[in-house]
């Protein structure tokens, strides 16, 4: 039966195996003189043990479907907007990126009115830039258009 603990345990065990594989490229050293791969390998071993333990004893945990994923579409939309923000931040500049991301989030994801969306997005983009970049002197990216 697919339970939350079993799925998580399997994923952790898989990650541990990936770490084992990737650690081949680094010197392991010895027990008395550990190399750079020593700790990652030990930790991957620990993670593998816990992952396998969760798969074995995780049968009594909640079913995966019972975890409640009803809001996943919303979560994916928010994540996509954030990913756009990360991609565009240094390409378009802080103010343009934040204004576009906020406008999409408020106007498309949350379906707010056009006037409110535009005004709020511009105000927050410009306001936070003024506060952090101008007043607090935290340098924020300006992008090719100085925005």
């Amino acid at each position: 039966m697919l339970t939350t603990d079993r799925v998580a345990g399997a994923a952790l065990a898989l990650l541990a195996l990936v770490v084992f594989w990737e650690s081949r490229k680094l010197p392991l050293g010895s027990l008395s003189n550990p190399g750079p791969a020593y700790m990652p390998v030990v930790l991957a071993g620990v993670l593998l043990a816990f992952g396998v333990a969760l798969v074995i004893v995780g049968g009594r945990a909640a079913k995966l479907a019972a975890a409640g994923w009803s809001e996943w579409r919303h979560a994916v939309a928010i994540f996509a907007v954030c990913a756009f923000g990360a991609w565009a931040l240094e390409r378009l500049g802080y103010r343009a990126t934040v204004a576009v991301a906020l406008a999409f989030m408020l106007g498309v994801v949350e379906r707010r009115g056009v006037v409110f969306t535009v005004a709020f997005s511009l105000a927050l983009a410009v306001g936070t830039f003024l506060l952090f970049d101008t007043l607090l002197r935290v340098p924020l990216p300006r992008g090719p258009f100085g925005l």
Partner: protein
Amino acid sequence: MVETLQNLALGFSVALTPGVLFYAFVGCVVGTLVGVLPGIGPLAGISLLLPATFGMDATRAIVMLAGIYYGAMYGGSTTSILMRIPGEAASVMTCIDGYAMARKGRAGAALAIAAVGSYVAGTVSVVALMFLAPPLASFALRFGPPEYFALLVLGLLVLAYMSGGSMVKALAMAALGLLLGMIGIDQMTGYFRFAYGVVELGDGIGVVPVAVGLFGLAEILATAGLPTPPEVIKPKLRELLPSRREWSQSAWPIGRGTVLGFLIGIIPGSAHIISSFVSYAVERRLSKHPEEFGRGAVAGVAGPESANNSATSGAFVPMLALGVPSGPIPAVMLAAMMVHGVSPGPLLIKQQPELFWGFIASMYVGNVVLLILNLPLVGVFVNLLRVPYPVLYPSILVFCILGVYAVNGSVVDVWIMLVMGALGYVLRKLDFETAPIVLGVILAPMIEMALRQSLAMSDGHYGIFVTRPIAGTLLAVGGVLLLLSLKPLITRSLDWRARLALAEKGEERL
């Protein structure tokens, strides 16, 4: 004693300068806002505002960030009492009786008791911090790499033991955090580990993007699509004064909550959350009318609120005296201090007495500021909750991206935050604690360095961890904890950690 008072006088001479006083006030206000707003806890709040402190001197920066921490503890009670929504996790227990009191028309009294309890606990626990940290720091001067290794391992084991739910899951998360902490240049050999050509990963994964992703972004991803919160109960200013009976009912719970909270705060783990749970359980057990709990018992508000504020100061003891964070919030505070060139640990008190004692004195001042803020201005803070969440959360997201980017001026950090946000969202759904990941990330380089230095000292013999008394004792305590965690598996009963997990999920009314 006389020396401590002289040092405290030095601290007040720093804390009462207009500049420091101003930033203590700003920290308290921002912290209260952070506590009031659901979806942004003290951890994310401190992480996000870290870049804003870059232009300040170290004392002002640390005082402001500490103000955010204990301000959030105060602010979290407001939404718990008026909306039954915990502003941050430590206020979960306050929801039960605080909201019940509000529904009986005693919202003002509940808020006042929470604020006064928090003030008393905050002040008393700072006194304890003041007396406990210096001797502990002197003791820690005897620590070498083996002792630090044992202490750090014990810290992770205690964190896992004190987390609600399964210890196997908590330890798996700690191992995951430690593995993430392995990314970057190996300090002993200079090898790049798991960086895949990304130069920015050379310094490793920062604790700020990890914390903001796991706690800030993940919370928004999980809650933004949910129905809107219930209506806010609005207290009137004249109703803020509790009755004589309510005062007398709250006196002992405040005292007990203060002591319990401080002691639990020193122990590694999500201390402020656990302390409120333990305090609630103790008060119900000691009460002559346990049937009132869940229906508006004054002790059910006074105890947990005092405990979670007291735990905040307790958590600073190992951080300041040993340089070892006891949980994710002290870990971020530690990172913040390092950004400002301050190295917490045994030598801090001797080398930078103005900073240490100024910080202690500012906590006294901060508690007074918070008492003033939380009573008359409660209506102002509650108004914030009228901002619809679909408008609020995009604004919080902007601060998440801005805060994470500004720490190093690196987009890679923003991507790390996104990955951690997605991971935190999934782990939350799968019922895993994410706090051990944050602690693992910051402890990983320290543990590895301590292990390798110890082995260099002993010519490769692992016996050094057992033959040295302090290290051996610390590891033995860790072993006992591991054995204790196996007990529920053998007796097939629910231990306190399982009950805490249930209570946090709201599936069980204590």
